[in-house]
Symmetry: C2
Amino acid sequence: MSKQTKFLLPESELPTHWYNLNADVGPLGVELPPVLNPQTKEPVTPDDLAPIFPMALIEQEMGAERHVEIPEAVRDVYRLWRPTPLYRAHRWEEALDTPAKIFYKYEGVSPTGSHKPNTSVPQAYYNAEEGVQRLTTETGAGQWGSALSFACQMLDLECLVYMVKISYEQKPYRRVLMETWDATVTPSPSDTTEAGRRILEQDPDSSGSLGIAISEAVEVAVQDEHAKYALGSVLNHVLLHQTVIGQEVIKQLERAGADWPDVIIAPTGGGSNFAGLVYPFLAAHVDGRPKPRILAVEPDAAPSLTKGQYTYDFGDTAQMTPLVKMRTLGHDFVPAPIHSGGLRYHGMSPQVSALYEAGHIEAVSTPQLPMFDACQSFVRAEGILPAPEAGHGVWGAMQEALACKESGASKTILFNLCGHGHFDLSAYEAYRAGELVDLEYSQDEIDKSLAAVPQID
Amino acid sequence: MSKQTKFLLPESELPTHWYNLNADVGPLGVELPPVLNPQTKEPVTPDDLAPIFPMALIEQEMGAERHVEIPEAVRDVYRLWRPTPLYRAHRWEEALDTPAKIFYKYEGVSPTGSHKPNTSVPQAYYNAEEGVQRLTTETGAGQWGSALSFACQMLDLECLVYMVKISYEQKPYRRVLMETWDATVTPSPSDTTEAGRRILEQDPDSSGSLGIAISEAVEVAVQDEHAKYALGSVLNHVLLHQTVIGQEVIKQLERAGADWPDVIIAPTGGGSNFAGLVYPFLAAHVDGRPKPRILAVEPDAAPSLTKGQYTYDFGDTAQMTPLVKMRTLGHDFVPAPIHSGGLRYHGMSPQVSALYEAGHIEAVSTPQLPMFDACQSFVRAEGILPAPEAGHGVWGAMQEALACKESGASKTILFNLCGHGHFDLSAYEAYRAGELVDLEYSQDEIDKSLAAVPQID
C-alpha cells in the first residue's frame, strides 16, 4: 500500500501573518523583563535602537500585536521556496523499529539551504522601505551571511558581511556564495573600521571572532546614515519571522490526518528555528489545543539552557549590545569549535529563556559524536543529509523514538530539519574519519565565565 | 498584485508511468538503428547484455511499450522529493526586460541535488528485484556516483563506485557524500581489477579517466555473479526513467494556466535530463498537440550534436561497450576540463541523436564563460544557484528571452534547471576570479578524433 511521505501545501496556503509571542505572555504566564540600555541600565527606548535597526523592526521587537501581517513583497520572495515540505519519516521509523510516528519539517529547500532567509527577507524589506541602502552583518561559517546576501539581492540592497577571518580563509565556498549574490565580504578584523584597526594594531595576525565581526558590522551601521545592521537570531523580531514554519506545519499535519504532536523537538543556538517551529503550537495552546512536550536540543559545547544562568548579560562578547535577561554562559564564554557553528552562542533568545524559566519547554544537550551517529541513521533511511545544526533535532527525535520503542507508546514526534548538509561535508568527513573531538564543559568552567556577567537584578 | 511563482503538484499527481519514446519512432518518422555487438557487428541480443544489466532494464532498453508502469516501491522513493516544483521566473523576466514568459523545472530539490536519482532509483530497484546484491559504476566529479549511492542505500544494495583518481583526491566532499550513503568509493585506476592493475603497471601515478573507471566497474560486474553495472545517461532505459520530469511539467503548466511552450530548452551531455523534459512533449505532439521548438544546449568543449558526426561508435574510450549509432566526436575525444563535468561526453544518446537527425530538435553550443554570465544573471533575479551543467539551460533560455526582447514577441519559454550549484562553488570561485579558460575545438581536431571511429554503415 502506498504511504504518503511528503505533505506539500499550495502557495495559496502560505501564511499571511507572523505570530507574535509577545501577545501571549499573559495567558502563558511568562514574564519578559525589559531590555536595558548598557549605560543607564534603564529600559531601552525605540530611539536607542534606531541607529542600527529600522523603525518597523523595532516596533516588531517591542510590539504585542498578536498577528503581524506579512507584506506582500516578502511573501513574493518566500514563494521562491515556501511553503516547505513536511515529511512523515516512514523509512526511519521502520529502521528504528519504533511504534512512534515521526514527522519533520524540512527547511533545507531554501536557496541558501536553511531556515535563515525566513527572517533575512523581511529584514531586508523593512530596511528598504525606510530608505536604507545597505545592510551590515557578521558571519562565522557563513549561514547567516549567505541568507542576508540572498535577501539583499532580492530586495535591491547592498550587503556588507564581516566574515571571521579564519572562516574566510578556510571556507572560501560560503564566501563565493555570498559574492554570487553580490555581497561585499570582508575578512574580520579589517582596516575598514576603528574596531578592526584596534585589534590589528594589537595583533596583526588575529584570526578574528564573531564578537569582533559584530563590532565592525555595528560600527559601520552606526556611522553610515544609509546603513543599518541585521541580526540572524536571538531577537524577538527575528523569532517572529520564523513562525511561518510552525504555522505551515499545523496545516500540513491536518492534511496528513496526523494526531496533534505529543512532542516537538528543535535545535537551539540563538533560538530562531526552535521558536519558528514551536511558537505556533504555543499559540494553539493559548487558543485551547493541548500543549505538546517541547524539547530544545543544544550542543554540549554551548549549553546555555541546561547549564547556564538566567540573568542579564550582553548579547555579544564585545559588550556593545543592550543588556538582555536570558539563559547565558557569560558573554566571555567561548564554545568549543564544534561543526555546528550556528549553535555556538553563549546566550539564548530572551523569549525562549523566559519560556524555559516558566516551565513551558524542556532542554537537553548532546556531544557532537552521538549527534552525527543520529544523522547517519537518518540519512541511511530518509536519504536527506542534515546540516550538523539540524542534526541536533534529529538526535532529539531519535531519543524520543527509541524511548517509544522501549515503552511501546505510539507517540507522534515532530522535529525541525532546519537545513541541509551539502555545505558541511568536511564535518561529515571528520566524523567518518573518527576525528571528531568533544569537549564538555564542567559547571566550574561555566561558573568562572558567569562571574564576569554584570550584576543586575 | 500577487504573482504565483511556484507551481507544486500534490504527491497524488506523481506520474504512474514512464513514457517510452521507442513506441513513437513510427509516428515521429525517426529511425533507431540497432545496437551492435562489437565482435560480431550483429545486433546485440538481450543475452549479450545480461552479464551487466538485469533483464527488466534490458527489456526497457529494447521494448516499445508506450507507457511503462513505475513500480510502487520506486514511487515511494520518488516521493522523498517528487513532484518537483515548476517556477515562473517573474523576477528574471523583469531583469531581462523581456516580454517572454519563462518557466523552469527545478530538479535540484532531490537529496543529491540533481535529476540523476530519477533513474538511479529504478535501476537499483530492478536489480534488487532480480536478486542482485551490489551495483558497480564509475563517476567523475561524483554526481552520478552520489545518485547511485543514494538509490542503493534506499533499496538495500551495496554500491561500488570507481571514482577517477584525480577527482577522488581533489574533490573529497562528493566522496564523503557517497560514503555517507554507505557506498564503497575506490580511486581509479585501482589494484582491485585487472584493468586497473594493467594501467598502474604502465603508469603507477596515473590520475585516471572516466574510460578507465568504466572498465573497472564493468569488469567487477561481469566477474561477480552477484553484481551488475549501472549507467547514468545515454541508454534508452535511463532516458525513459527521466520522463517523470516532463510529465509533471505538463500538468504544472496547466495549473499555471500557461500557454503551450513555444520553445523548450535543456542541457545535453549524454542526453538524460534533456530527454526527461522533452520526450513527454513529443508524446503530446504525437497525440495531436503542437510541437514546440526544442533546443539542446551543449558545451563548446563537447559539441557532439553541433560538430560531431552521426555514425556507429563505442560508448566508452576503452572500446568495451556495444557499438551504437549516435552523434559522436569519436571515442578518443577528450573534452577540455570545463566545470560542467556532467556534460563532458564524446557521444550522445542514440535516441536524442536520431531525433536530431530527423529534424525534431535543434542544437547550439556555448563556451563556459557566457554560460556563467547567464547563471549570474539568473541567480541575481531568482536566488537559486544553478549547477554549471544546468547553467547551459539557463544560457539557452536567456538567449531566447533576449531575442523576444528584440522582436517584441511574448513567447513561452521552458527550460530544465536540472541541479543546484551548492557542490560547485569552486567553479563559481574560478568564474568570479576571472580564471575560466575556454577551449574551442576546430573541426580539424574533431575530424582527427573521428578518424578513429570504426567504419560501419
